[in-house]
């Protein structure tokens, strides 16, 4: 497999983009940063699928495609299924010798937003992971149904306001905890599972490369700040991601073979979660006195989660 050098950014930048501009994602959208980086991590051919979502409706709007690789979108829920079936077809045709170029190296990748990954496509994802196909699934987690105007998903954190879990005089927004998709995917016995963030480009690139190199079903959850629904200035996408990783709201770690957990980033200067929440409009209401307990709850959840991750890393079980 042709893995591109990620020794440093200069080396990495010699890559030739295979995700083209003039797509119609919002200015400052992290989705395309993540997709570009994945595609720049390898020189192999790629077969990519996407669930319905922002990425899909912005990169293949007839008569334009932004994809320089084979790409397929079917429906909201089945990117994992379509790309893994293509992978099965590849193995059959390779065996039969009916491919145009039988030796061309190829990787199979599926993208989904948190809506299609955590919610509507969960069964399809789970099935594909269980079947053990050789593919990588990447969730672009912007913690809401951004494509349809910002409704809650099961990835939306406690306290965020969304159009279907609104903050108001009688509500502080979403009441339920974010689903731990990484743990669920690790529990499928996937050989490589990780949570990564685009501000830490190198750990993200390393994780992508590991996933592409690892045989079997790999899963990566990437935080993808959404300036439109999180309500911050598009220029701050990377800055917000810094706050997410440095407050440990979004810890970066990998789990190998379902049990071996490695923390990939430890903030030198650990921030309070207020710094992260305060930078986004979706959490503004939490700073009212009556909602102070929600911020405390979020901080305490973060602390507990970090403790758990560290202990799991130590325990190697």
């Amino acid at each position: 497999m042709a893995i591109t050098s990620i020794k440093n950014l200069k080396e990495f930048s010699t890559n030739n983009d295979r995700f083209e501009g003039a797509h119609t994602l919002c200015p400052g959208c992290a989705h395309s940063m993540i997709v570009r980086e994945l595609m720049n991590c390898t020189d192999d051919n790629l077969v990519i699928s996407a669930n319905t979502g922002c990425l899909e409706v912005s990169t293949a709007v007839y008569p334009f495609t932004s994809w320089d690789t084979s790409w397929i979108h079917i429906g909201f829920e089945n990117a994992a299924t379509s790309v893994t079936a293509a992978q099965v077809m590849h193995s059959v045709r390779k065996k039969k010798g009916t491919l145009k170029d039988n030796d061309a190296p190829v990787k199979f990748v599926a993208f989904g937003g948190d809506g299609s990954t955590f919610d509507i496509g969960f069964q399809w994802l789970s099935g594909a992971m269980e079947r053990g196909h050789d593919f990588t699934y990447i969730c672009l987690d912007n913690e809401n149904y951004a494509n349809t105007g910002g409704q809650r998903s099961s990835a939306t954190p406690i306290g965020a306001t969304t159009s279907t879990a609104q903050a108001g005089t009688h509500s502080y927004g979403k009441k339920e905890k974010k689903k731990d998709i990484v743990a669920i995917m690790a529990a499928h016995g996937a050989p490589y599972v990780a949570q990564l963030a685009p501000n830490k480009w190198k750990s993200m690139a390393k994780g992508f490369q590991k996933a592409l190199e690892t045989e079997g079903p790999c899963f990566i959850n990437t935080v993808s700040p959404c300036c439109t629904e999180w309500k911050f200035d598009p220029k701050d996408t990377i800055g917000i991601t810094d706050l997410a990783t440095d407050s440990l709201m979004f810890p970066i770690y990998e789990i190998i073979d379902g049990h071996e957990l490695n923390i990939l980033y430890r903030p030198k200067n650990l921030l309070k979660v207020e710094d992260y929440l305060g930078a986004q409009g979706r959490y503004k209401h939490l700073f009212k006195p009556e909602n102070k307990h929600v911020i405390e709850k979020i901080q305490s959840d973060i602390d507990k989660n970090w403790e758990m991750l560290q202990r799991r890393e130590e325990a190697r079980i």
Binding site: A2, L9, K10, E11, F12, S13, T14, N16, D17, R18, F19, E20, G21, A22, H23, T24, L25, P27, G28, C29, A30, H31, S32, M33, R36, E37, T42, D43, D44, N45, T59, A60, Y62, P63, F64, T65, S66, W67, D68, T69, D101, A104, P198, W201, D233, P234, K235, D236, T237, I238, G239
Partner: protein, 151 residues
């Protein structure tokens, strides 16, 4: 240096889809709405730079979103250290980088999000936002001096 013709092949921006022109009939649309990205053999596409590729008219590379922009980033090569921060985080594949060097901005694809300016580490920054109609020379002439570190 910023005037390199790296950014586009000849047919870029020819489609006038947003204006409702160039919409053709049912007999001319592709079978199954399938879109081929290139003309000719694209087997080695990962090893070709944009200017060496034979993009099809269906590739969004040939289109432009320049009109989305209100402000534009201007690049000052004299300050740049080629760190490639802007390249790695540009969401619109609009940073023209060749052989580890930052060369300029693809203004057909840049939406003016300003991420490149934010992530630029030099002092002063090598990318700054200017009005869409500001010309390069005027912009460069207004470049700020190096800021002293606040103590």
């Amino acid at each position: 240096m910023q005037d390199l013709k790296l950014k586009a092949n000849e047919n870029r921006g020819l489609h006038q889809l947003e204006s409702g022109k160039d919409l053709y009939g049912w007999d001319e649309v592709t079978q199954g709405s399938v879109l081929p990205s290139f003309e000719g053999d694209a087997s080695k596409i990962a090893h070709l730079k944009a200017e060496e590729r034979d993009y099809s008219n269906y590739n969004s590379y040939t289109a432009t979103v320049a009109s989305w922009r209100v402000k534009k980033p201007v690049f000052n090569i004299d300050v740049c250290i080629d760190c490639q921060n802007c390249w790695v985080w540009c969401p619109d594949s609009s940073i023209l980088s060749r052989d580890k060097q930052m060369l300029g901005i693809d203004y057909d694809h840049c939406k003016g999000c300003e991420v490149c300016v934010e992530v630029c580490p030099t002092n002063p920054k090598s990318l700054l936002m200017f009005g869409e109609n500001e010309d390069l020379e005027t912009a460069l002439s207004q470049w700020p001096e190096k800021k002293k570190k606040e103590k």
